[in-house]
């Protein structure tokens, strides 16, 4: 009930700021369209096939990227670092008999749902116009597993970014660190190009790092490009990463709180 109330309230807050949500979706959509146009050119000039990717799979990849990028990528780190730690908003959370981590989770989720909904509308418009070029999984089991992978992708991204935000307990300005990790997410998460198209060494690194489990794997799962075994492996890897980042969060939180000075208060 507590969680539901926080969620509902955050939802109302997000609805008050709906134009902001829409702009954030465009922020994800525009680079995706640029990358898509580039790769469509590459696919065309290579006779319609680049390492198993064709015109249809590559366009649907980037449109799904828009939906996934808006839905599962949490943008909580700046909020945690700047508002909560640096400007002292954390004080409000610390005074409440409810976990900071879960309050933030419930505050962030409505943003993702609304932005995801905008993303879905854009994809529906795309399917309506270019229906023939869109590939999506059709088996119910695959769709259910793909949705589970998407939910876990959000949990993974959220847990990772919460830990990242806590760096502000030590760093005067964490934004540089955030930018570096954003670039890593772009490259190894599959934003620029599906990770199988990366040079082999990079592709191998991408499979080890957590970023591909946030963006790339959820997309190829919903496209129906993974076997059931592969999907289960992805789910296992996601759970393992969530566990790792949650532990990191716990340690960083308990150490960082000793550093907190409740400044600006």
């Amino acid at each position: 009930m507590k969680a539901w109330r926080i969620f509902l309230l955050s939802f109302q807050h997000v609805l008050e700021n709906r134009s902001r949500s829409f702009i954030w979706v465009l922020y994800v959509l525009l680079p995706a369209v640029v990358f898509m146009l580039f790769w469509i050119g590459v696919v065309k000039s290579s006779g319609g096939d680049v390492s198993g990717w064709n015109f249809s799979t590559i366009t649907s990849y980037y449109f799904l990227l828009t939906v996934l990028g808006s839905t599962v990528i949490a943008h909580i780190e700046e909020d945690v670092a700047e508002e909560d730690i640096r400007l002292g908003e954390l004080t409000n959370y610390l005074m409440k008999p409810f976990s900071y981590f879960w309050t933030k989770f419930l505050e962030e989720t409505p943003w993702r749902l609304i932005q995801g909904a905008f993303g879905v509308l854009i994809v529906i418009a795309f399917i309506f116009i270019f229906g023939n070029f869109f590939t999506l999984a059709s088996s119910p089991l695959v769709i259910v597993l793909a949705l589970l992978i998407m939910v876990l992708a959000y949990m993974l991204c959220f847990t990772f970014k919460m830990s990242l935000g806590l760096s502000a307990f030590w760093l005067t300005d964490s934004r540089g660190l955030f930018q570096i990790l954003e670039v890593l997410l772009l490259i190894f998460g599959g934003f620029v190009v599906p990770i199988t198209l990366l040079p082999e060494a990079f592709s191998k690194i991408a499979q080890v790092l957590p970023f591909s489990y946030i963006v790339y794997y959820p997309i190829v799962a919903i496209q129906g490009n993974l076997s059931i075994t592969q999907m289960l492996t992805v789910i296992f890897a996601q759970l393992a990463w969530i566990f790792v980042f949650y532990l990191v969060y716990k340690v960083v939180w308990s150490e960082g709180r000793r550093k907190y000075t409740a400044m600006g208060q």
Partner: protein, 324 residues
Amino acid sequence: MKVISVRNLKKNYKAYQKEPGFAGSVKSLFSRKYEQVAAVDDISFEIEEGELIGFIGPNGAGKTTTLKCLSGLLYPSSGHVDVLGFSPWKRNNKFLKQISLVMGQKNQLWWDLPPIESFLLNKEIYEIPGDKFKEMLSELSELLEIEDILRVQVRKLSLGQRMKCELVAALLHSPRVLFLDEPTIGLDVVMQKKLRDFIKEYNKRFGSTIILTSHYMEDVRQLCERIIIIDHGKILYDGKLSDVVRRYSKEKLIKVIFNQKVKPEAIEPFGKINEFDGQSATIVIPRSKAPEAVAAILKKFSVDDINIEEPAIEEIIRDVFTKK
């Protein structure tokens, strides 16, 4: 019953000292000199249930740091803090449900939603039963006269209205201990008085323990029987507000109105003249000599009215800080 017990509490901050100028900046790239600054330096006190206590001190004295240690926001560098039988720092839910912190410069209300939404959120977070919530909300809204703004967006409210709503949000769960940090800061005198009256009434009606910091002596004078004066992280005085006057003020003020004009030279022998306009004067006199001075003035002049007064509390406190 003791609700707060603090023994030898210390809280240090690490501060980095930079030499001035560009050369200092370059030097700081290679070696930085850090210094431990004691914000709270070995303080001890106890507070009984139901007390309304004022923490006073200049900026940077350590008042807010103490409050933050008591409410569990800060980890004490050393010493022992016990509030309601808990170590505040551990943030036990049972502890957090019995305390509240209101800071004059910060808010917990959701900015773009009406205050009632934040109140309903607190109802869930603090697990306040439905009827208890209704009762408290109607009682507090009535006391603070906010019934008609419950459904107005917080960002549309004035500072005073917002502060009232902050207080309601902080009190809905009937905290046993309430920390108020500069609750009247930035408010006009009418609103300051309203909030003061409310705090007093709340303390009386609910028997909560209230610890207040304020720059406005009027807040402290009107509300607190006991005060703790802090400066440079140390307690300079802990006791009754009325005693601080006796203890620190070595002088009294004699205010006298004469029936006819007098010359200043005529009253100079009695003490230091503070104010004088020909027919009335304020004379500063050593505390012990006040009665005989009054007798002498009455004997020498034709007096319309004469009063012995204590110096303003602000001045006494200022003297305590400047160790006059």
